[in-house]
């Protein structure tokens, strides 16, 4: 459905620059700690079109989360530059929505008070906040739990509340760091379906980090495979499965198997040590 576009290296071309929603140009990141230096990223180029859904898979510690933190402006690159919608990211980037794997709901606020936080920060009137919160609670299927505290919710419901809190201020770019990681398989499928539905409606640019190849193929327009650090892009795989997709059906699509094999091979280099 969506046109397959050129490889990440073409990010340097003028056209890609003009159209990119998010771009990393020659980004390197080295963390310095007491025990020494760790080079996580080196010369990374990456660009996303507006409305593109990109998934990143890779081994643990390969710098996937670092890329998201750089895009969010929570971290600064050691070298190179990060752009979001054409603007260099210098400070915390409030034009993005960042859904971390970490549970960051405020435990002393109810579900509706939590979802209202970004709007309160933007000094939006009470009646408008109430209306938008009600609307999003319906969209993520949390009706009846408005007055519950996070400690009274299941893991899946907390994820839904976090998703609602991220979507309510309508950021054009969404960063998602293994958002469904610790959930059971069935719940994961339900939330993936929910996410695809919301994404089709809002068409946001998404960078989605995951461990799960199937999840990456199910959701994304394009899947990047990161190598272990310092991170290089080992494979840039456009997904040829048409949208709208049915999360239960994707794995039976004829193209699925080929995608899965190629991603798996890229993820596990043949010369790997016996485990």
């Amino acid at each position: 459905m969506r046109s397959v576009h050129l490889s990440v290296v073409s990010a340097q071309s003028c056209e890609a620059q003009r159209r990119s929603a998010v771009e990393l140009r020659g980004v390197g990141k080295t963390f310095t700690s007491r025990t020494g230096q760790v080079e996580v990223l080196r010369g990374l180029n990456l660009s996303l079109q507006d409305g593109e859904f990109l998934a990143i898979v890779g081994p643990s510690g390969s710098g996937k989360s670092t890329v998201l933190n750089l895009l969010a402006g929570l971290d600064q690159p050691t070298s190179g530059a990060v752009f979001c919608r054409g603007e260099p990211v210098a400070a915390v980037n409030t034009g993005i929505g960042y859904l971390t794997q970490h549970d960051s709901l405020l435990p002393w606020r109810t579900v509706e008070q939590n979802i209202a936080v970004p709007l309160e920060l933007r000094n939006i009137g009470r009646t408008e906040i109430a209306a938008r919160v009600r609307d999003l609670i319906a969209q993520v299927g949390l009706e009846g739990f408005e007055r519950h505290y996070p400690s009274q919710l299941s893991g899946g419901m907390r994820k839904r509340a976090m998703l609602a809190r991220t979507l309510i201020y309508d950021p054009p770019v969404l960063l998602m760091d293994e958002p469904f990681g610790p959930l059971d398989a069935q719940l994961k499928l339900a939330l993936q379906a929910e996410l695809l539905k919301l994404w089709s409606a809002h068409r946001k640019t998404v960078v989605f980090v995951t461990h799960d190849i199937v999840e990456a193929i199910t959701l994304a327009d394009r899947v990047l495979v990161f190598s272990s650090r310092p991170c290089q892009i080992r494979l840039d795989e456009p997904i040829a499965i048409p949208r709208p997709r049915e999360v239960h059906e994707v794995r039976f699509h004829p193209a699925f198997e080929e995608h899965y094999r190629r991603l798996w091979t890229a993820l596990e280099p043949p010369a790997r040590r016996p485990s």
Binding site: A72, G73, L74, V92, N93, T94, I96, G97, Y98, T100, H102, S104, L106, P107, W108, R109, T110, V117, P118, L121, R122, Y149, P150, S151, R165, Y169
Partner: protein, 263 residues
């Protein structure tokens, strides 16, 4: 009373844990008071140890004359004023120091050093500075409360979940909004621990200053009774103070569980 307890036990075979604890507490009090009462005048000279009955008589007499209420109210006012001042300063200072790592590392040794000084040792100085009215008592109570609330709150501020702070920052929260929405609420349980620890120390500060120079308050009452070799009076004054601190601590506990109903 005992038959009622018995029938309750039968109606509900597992008498609630808190019910049992209350029963044991009552037994403990009765045993202690009986032992004290019977030892006084037989094993021990009542001149030194008084007796529960004599203390009770003193309390009744003081209550009737209005003396007890007057002195308790003075001590309560001093402590309350000191508590509010000390706790407010402690919280604000902790939020300020906790927000800035350089500031924290700079002031930390000084604060710890001053904390190590016994607050009561400062009472003569405050009496020299502020006279013998309410002021030196309030200041001493405030200083005693300040450090406990400060250290406790600072700990809470330092232990705030940084991922939560980052999440709020990406949603557009500035420094002040982060303090208000994340750091303060997440430090609140620690703050309360500080308040609950600080309250009795506030009374200690106020009473200690009263004992050194004053003409009113529970400290004065204790000192005055001791001066007249009235052991029952000393015990009665201390007992009254004990009741007030316990009730206030209980009230703080109730307030705490109401504030942290989200847990």
């Amino acid at each position: 009373m005992s038959t009622q307890a018995l029938s309750e036990t039968q109606a509900e075979p597992t008498l609630g844990l808190s019910g049992r604890v209350w029963l044991y507490r009552a037994i403990f009090v009765v045993v202690m008071l009986t032992a004290w009462q019977s030892a006084s005048g037989t094993l021990l000279d009542p001149f030194w140890v008084s007796s529960p009955a004599a203390i009770f008589r003193t309390l009744v007499a003081w209550t009737a004359s209005g003396q007890l209420g007057y002195h308790l109210l003075i001590t309560f006012k001093e402590t309350a004023a000191g508590f509010v001042l000390g706790a407010t300063a402690g919280v604000l200072f902790a939020l300020l120091v906790g927000a800035n790592d350089t500031l924290h590392r700079t002031v930390d040794p000084f604060v710890t050093a001053i904390y190590g000084v016994p607050k009561v040792a400062l009472a003569p100085l405050f009496i020299m500075w502020f006279g013998i009215g309410l002021a030196p008592k309030i200041v001493l109570a405030a200083i005693s409360v300040f450090f406990l609330v400060f250290f406790s709150t600072l700990r809470g501020v330092r232990e705030v979940d940084l991922k939560m702070v980052d999440a709020l920052r990406t949603m557009g929260a500035g420094k002040f909004a982060t303090q208000r929405m994340v750091i303060f609420p997440s430090a609140l349980p620690w703050l309360f621990t500080g308040l609950k620890l600080g309250l009795p120390y506030g009374f200690v500060g106020a009473v200690a200053a009263e004992m050194m120079a004053s003409n009113a308050g529970i400290g004065y009452l204790t000192q005055n009774s001791a001066g007249q070799l009235d052991t029952a009076g000393v015990f009665a004054a201390l007992f009254a103070l004990m009741v007030v601190t316990t009730l206030l601590n209980e009230a703080l506990g109730r307030l705490e569980s109401w504030i942290f109903r989200w847990r």
